[in-house]
């Protein structure tokens, strides 16, 4: 930045050019002013007026700050514009690499009966709710045709280990059939109740990550996640420890879901994650899908309660970190990375355009293809808005270039939405 400050120091104010900016009034005489990539500063109204009118003088502080924040440039010099362009390009780099995430719902069956289940699991009928070999083969063909140099294949359910042979088939076929240079990553999202040594061996052989569900200490977890025997917590904890031992600590992650019973237990939940040596936590509220709606779990608390829960948890996590234990809250990390850096983040839900199709495709057990995981959850509730096609008749281009997906992606552009279009944040 020193170079730009030097340029500013020698520039007569008549040669200045205002660069695109946005602003938002925080309170009466306080404004947040940001540049094209969202980096900003606080100004009062008089300073904002002076900036916009280019009534700036070298040495008065505002002039230099405006240069440093890329809000003004010297007429005829392109360095500031090129720097903004480079940073904007970096932030939007995810558009260059469609589609990096491919979710295979290898079964909708599950042996748990969680009342908040968002995917509307089924407990019976293997023939109806398991992905067939043929469907898996066709889905994989689509996934491997995605241009992204690295693709992540995530196995979900139901409980995906109930159809472990299908996971084996897909992993082995992907290793065999991936185009030269294409990197593959695999994740199994499992409750770990059915984890066996054979599964762990396979995960180690193929560098498969394990993601599980852990809602907190034993009483809370088992209350949230009932299963025959009432031992979900015990099996999850045993599974986490075994997977950490065999695959490595950094190859196992966990997700929690917040229920009404969780709301005054956030410290207990975080302590459980710390006790199990997990590398962070995602304090995640319920989403309005599946059984979470049907059983009215979603209605049991509101945004105010979630924010209180989240704030209390985040404060506790900050203390943990201050005391020397690195332990991120993953959602806060994502938001901070998005706000403070130009690193393109892969999080599907924080992109504009949204990651539907361009970021992720979901291959359902029955061969239907969805633009997002939430899309297949909606479909189980009767809303097929995000259903793009079927592996039996579609290929990658026909799904990605379909009028339906283009319409959905266009509708997701925050840049074109009321208020978002002028949002300074």
């Amino acid at each position: 930045m020193a170079g730009f400050r030097d340029a500013a120091a020698s520039a007569p104010t008549t040669d200045l050019q205002l660069l695109p900016l946005r602003f938002e009034r925080l309170r009466h005489d306080r404004y947040f002013v940001s540049n094209v990539v969202g980096e900003g500063m606080l100004l009062n109204r008089e300073q904002l007026e002076r900036l916009v009118s280019l009534e700036l003088s070298p040495g008065n502080g505002l002039y230099e700050r405006a240069f440093e924040k890329l809000l003004i440039a010297v007429k005829g010099q392109s360095s500031q514009l090129q720097l903004l362009a480079m940073r904007l390009r970096s932030r939007m780099a995810f558009l260059q690499q469609p589609t990096a995430l491919h979710i295979f719902v290898v079964t909708l069956r599950c042996e748990h009966s969680c009342p908040y289940c968002q995917v509307s699991r089924s407990s019976v009928d293997r023939d109806r709710f398991d992905m067939s070999e043929d469907t898996a083969t066709r889905a994989l063909r689509i996934a491997l045709a995605a241009p992204a140099p690295t693709i992540k294949i995530e196995f979900q359910g139901g409980e995906p280990l109930l159809n472990f042979p299908r996971i084996q088939q897909i992993v082995e076929a992907a290793r065999r059939d991936a185009p030269d240079g294409k990197k593959l990553e695999f994740v199994i999202a499992s409750n770990l109740a059915l984890l066996t040594d054979a599964v762990l061996d396979f995960c180690r052989t193929h560098s498969i990550l394990v993601s599980t569900s852990l809602d907190g200490p034993v009483d809370l977890h088992n209350r949230n996640r009932p299963r025959p025997g009432g031992n979900s917590h015990q099996l999850a904890v045993e599974g986490i420890k075994r997977a950490q031992a065999v695959l490595g600590r950094d190859r196992v992650g966990a997700l929690m879901t917040t229920t009404e019973a969780s709301l005054d237990r956030v410290e207990d939940i975080i302590d459980e994650y710390l006790r199990l040596d997990l590398d962070g936590i995602f304090l995640r509220p319920l989403s309005p899908y599946g059984f979470a709606v049907k059983t009215k779990q979603f209605d049991k608390y509101g945004g105010r309660e979630v924010l209180k829960f989240y704030e209390r948890g985040l404060r506790y996590i900050l203390e943990v970190n201050k005391n020397g234990r690195p332990f991120p809250e993953f959602y806060a990390s994502l938001l901070l990375k998005r706000l403070l850096t130009d690193v393109p983040i892969g999080y599907i839900g924080l992109r504009s355009p949204a990651g539907i199709g361009l970021g992720a495709l979901v291959y359902n057990y029955d061969g239907k293809v969805f633009a997002s995981d939430e899309g297949r959850m909606l479909a189980e509730m009767g809303d097929r808005t995000f259903e793009l096609g079927d592996v039996a008749r579609d290929d990658y281009p026909s799904l990605i270039l379909s009028d339906k997906l283009i319409g959905l992606v266009g509708g997701s552009l925050a840049q074109c939405s009321p208020e978002c279009a002028s949002c300074a944040f």
Binding site: P20, F23, R25, V52, L81, L84, M92, Q96, E419
Partner: protein, 104 residues
């Protein structure tokens, strides 16, 4: 429930009035009519106002929002050229990278 009316002269951009009205949508509905070149903004509160102080607060808030929107329009107009250059530099390069990598 009393409506609140604020009038603007012909030089006021109606786009800025619309943007400002949208920002108040949680508290008041707004109807904008243009009569003989003057813009008449009629606000209908969604809940009963406690008194003149509430009415004045809505009036002041709307005028502040219009002031901000006017400034946004001025900035957008003055920086349109720079914005186009930045976007061209950013996404023109993306297209070239794709062509170079043979994935386009």
């Amino acid at each position: 429930m009393t409506d609140i009316i604020i009038e603007f002269g012909p030089s006021q951009s109606i786009g800025a009035l619309r943007e400002a009205a949208y920002r108040l949508i949680g508290d008041v509905s707004c109807q904008i009519d243009t009569v003989d070149g003057r813009h008449v903004c009629r606000f209908i509160p969604k809940t009963a106002l406690a008194g003149e102080a509430d009415e004045e607060a809505i009036r002041t808030r709307f005028l502040d929002l219009v002031t901000d929107e006017n400034l946004r329009e001025k900035v957008a107009a003055e920086t349109a050229g720079a914005r186009d250059v930045i976007l061209a530099l950013a996404f023109g390069a993306l297209a070239r990278e794709r062509e170079a990598s043979g994935s386009g």
